[in-house]
Amino acid sequence: MTTYQKWIAFYTMIRKDIVRMFRIWVQTFLPSVITSTLYFLVFGTVLGSRIGDMQGVDYMTFVVPGLVMLAVVTTSYANTSFMFFTSKFFARSIDEILVSPTPPWLLIAGFVSGGIVRGLLVGLLVLLVSLFFTGLTLTIHSALVIFGFAFLTALVFALAGLVNGIYAKTIDGINIVPTFFLTPLVYLGGIFYSVHSLPDWWQAITYANPLFYLINGFRYGFLGITDVALSTSVLILLVMVVILVAINWYFIRTGLGLKQ
């Protein structure tokens, strides 16, 4: 395949996924908007007024970046794990790509990009919803940090979702990780509080949670405040990117578990 042909194959994959997600927007975009609205209502408006400030900012404003991150993480993960799993086991439509000259790395790029696109779109929607609760004010400390963290986080979790999709043998197999690991890690990663407000032992555990660094880096992009140095957050994020790219590269080399 020429480079131009590869672009066409890539465009075909990503276009197909985007058309799909907009066609079934009730399943792909709406749920995150509804849950985040509930969070903003409960934590921001109802409880937030009693909590007051967190690290010197209004509680609602403090919570927004973490909830956007929660949406990005779970959505990009879910999109690739689900898409890969279903195209493998449901009607086996992945054969359409496997018989074509599209190389395996490009197939992966197609699936992962779909996850990134949906993760970022859902994150943006949640951010827009939050504006209704913050009186349409949005503080931006560094757009570069915001976009960098959002994009790389979506990439990491799209890649992680793909690994899950490759391993999963049943539909439950793609729900275990999000339910039992991902969501708890994000919740305990300091979305709702500053790590300094925790008891010592809990602080120690929090520092072992990689999501904590991502959420803090992302929050820094908006508010300029963070519990850890931005450079530490960036480093952890880049390490995660490297690890997941390496794992996926291994799968590409070994046939993605797709060939008998």
Partner: protein
Amino acid sequence: MAENALVVNDLKKVYKNGTEALKGVSLTVPAGDFFALLGPNGAGKTTIIGIVTGLVNKTSGTAEVFGYDIDKKPEQAKAQIGLVGQELNFNPFEKPLDIVTNQGGYYGIPRSIARPRAEQLLKDLGLGEKMMGRAMELSGGMKRRLMIARALVHKPRFLVLDEPTAGVDVELRRGMWDYLRKLTSEGLTILLTTHYLEEAEQLAKHVAIISKGQIVANGTMSDILAMHDEEAAAKSGYKGGKLEEVFIRLTSEK
């Protein structure tokens, strides 16, 4: 030297569960041929096709498609082939027109070219009315024809069909055979597997019969028909077609 669409040499396949599906298969499909690969269920036909089209890993042996080795030049080899698999393998929620157009995309064909081509193919195959509905609304025979359209969208030189007429009723089967015959007359090489021996007898130029992972007969249709054993057939009271008699004798347990 005449060009070959497919050269398979000493192909072996052992599946992970230990099943020895191919025990050293060699085959040559000359360019422009209509080649029938016949064999009872479980003989290894789908496995051969899977290896050649990149869906199954081989254990050993080599395969070349129009001179492109499937290991060394997988992209070029795959670009030559259009596959109509044995199992339905499209997303039933998608529209036939999208399925065929997107398949062109995976072969690097821009949408502006793939879409009209997909439309034409679907019309030629009698799916013009149905191409904007969901694929799941198609009948069994229509689904099979959708897969043929999808396999042709990138204008392959070599069309591989794995039991394309299974479960398709007689009349539609005729139509499908006529369509395939027209394609070969235009220069396309066809390899197919089928259970309908009478039809294979009328259409195929070359035949290979495979049984338990090994080729038991291989030659032109007239070579194979010459193996017909009048006496043995008479003795066993057999009254079917010639090819069928040869097939049953070669593939039955000794």
